[in-house]
């Protein structure tokens, strides 16, 4: 389905995850972050978002452990940056599909 986020038309699934990561940009990220009650994306947020997108573009399936070993952040900080479900919420903001890993 179609959704307009911050003036940009994008394709999303029923839960609002972008279905094409190429349609993403930083304004979209900011708007989705607000929907998830993250008022401001700090430099650290962006670092994590960029890292997630880079991994995904290499076809790597993401999980919490990989984020913890990324060198970009650790698990504790990851939970603080994206409260209430960090991998889910960070993926949504980063324009990626909903994570499918059990880890």
């Amino acid at each position: 389905m179609n959704k307009t986020i911050n003036g940009h038309d994008v394709d999303v699934d029923a839960e609002g995850y972008l279905t094409d990561m190429e349609q993403w940009n930083r304004e979209i990220a900011q708007e989705i972050a607000k929907e998830l009650d993250i008022d401001e994306l700090t430099d650290k947020h962006w670092e994590v978002i960029d890292w997630l997108r880079e991994q995904k573009s290499q076809g790597i399936e993401l999980n919490i452990r990989k984020v913890g070993n990324s060198g970009v952040t650790d698990i504790k900080e990851f939970y603080q940056l994206f409260p209430g479900g960090p991998l889910k919420n960070a993926s949504k903001i980063a324009g990626l599909n909903k994570p499918t890993s059990c880890l």
């Binding site: 029923a14 919490i64 479900g85 880890l103």
Partner: protein, 194 residues
């Protein structure tokens, strides 16, 4: 599709209201309030009791705990009886797959009683788990802690096995009696015994 659109419209109209996960109605607004006893009331907390020392039982607990935290659900893990091995410094990296009495291993029962077979089966399973990015026990405990989960040991089981707090994983949140464990229950909690 129609349902989804309706619920999205509804969501917009009632922006900021807490929604019931099951029926997508607001919990508190008079026009569309979902039954407060709705079976879909959100899962808020998991209390996971690990009572066995075999790898499959311990990892079932870890994966459910980690999965809950990833969904924003609170987690208490409570290690009791042989499950204490999973948080015992000496034993946590030497957990084994149980072969005897385990039809899931797909091998004749008698194989399990030969020396070394359990270690071999365990080694093979750990290797496969590593390939799947499933962490070893101590790292899994670190992950549960870092993600905000709590780890408790059972007081009675520690007394039975003569274990002291210093024998256990350093970062446990405490040693509890069964009564203290139940005190940690809040509405929206599920208790799982493994």
């Amino acid at each position: 599709m129609e349902d989804t659109k309706q619920s999205q419209d509804h969501k917009r109209e009632h922006d900021g209201h807490e929604m019931c996960h099951k029926c997508n109605q607001c919990k508190d607004c008079s026009s569309c309030r979902c039954d407060s006893n709705h079976e879909g009331a959100p899962l808020k907390k998991m209390m996971i009791v690990v009572s066995k020392a075999n790898i499959d039982s311990v990892y079932a607990g870890f994966i459910m705990a980690n999965g809950a935290r990833s969904e924003g659900i609170k987690v208490d893990m409570f290690f009791t009886f042989f499950g204490l091995d999973a948080i015992s410094k000496k034993r946590m990296e030497h957990l084994k797959v149980a072969l005897a009495g385990n039809p899931g291993m797909h091998m004749p029962e008698v194989v399990g009683v030969f020396p070394g077979m359990e270690s071999l089966a365990t080694h093979m399973m750990m290797k496969r788990m590593d390939e799947l990015d499933i962490p070893p026990v101590s790292e899994f405990l670190d992950i549960i802690k870092a993600s905000g989960g709590s780890i408790y040991a059972c007081k009675l089981a520690m007394e039975m096995f003569n274990l002291k707090k210093e024998d256990l994983y350093d970062d446990i949140d405490g040693v509890l009696t069964v009564g203290q464990f139940y005190e940690r229950y809040h509405p929206g909690t599920q208790i799982i015994f493994i």
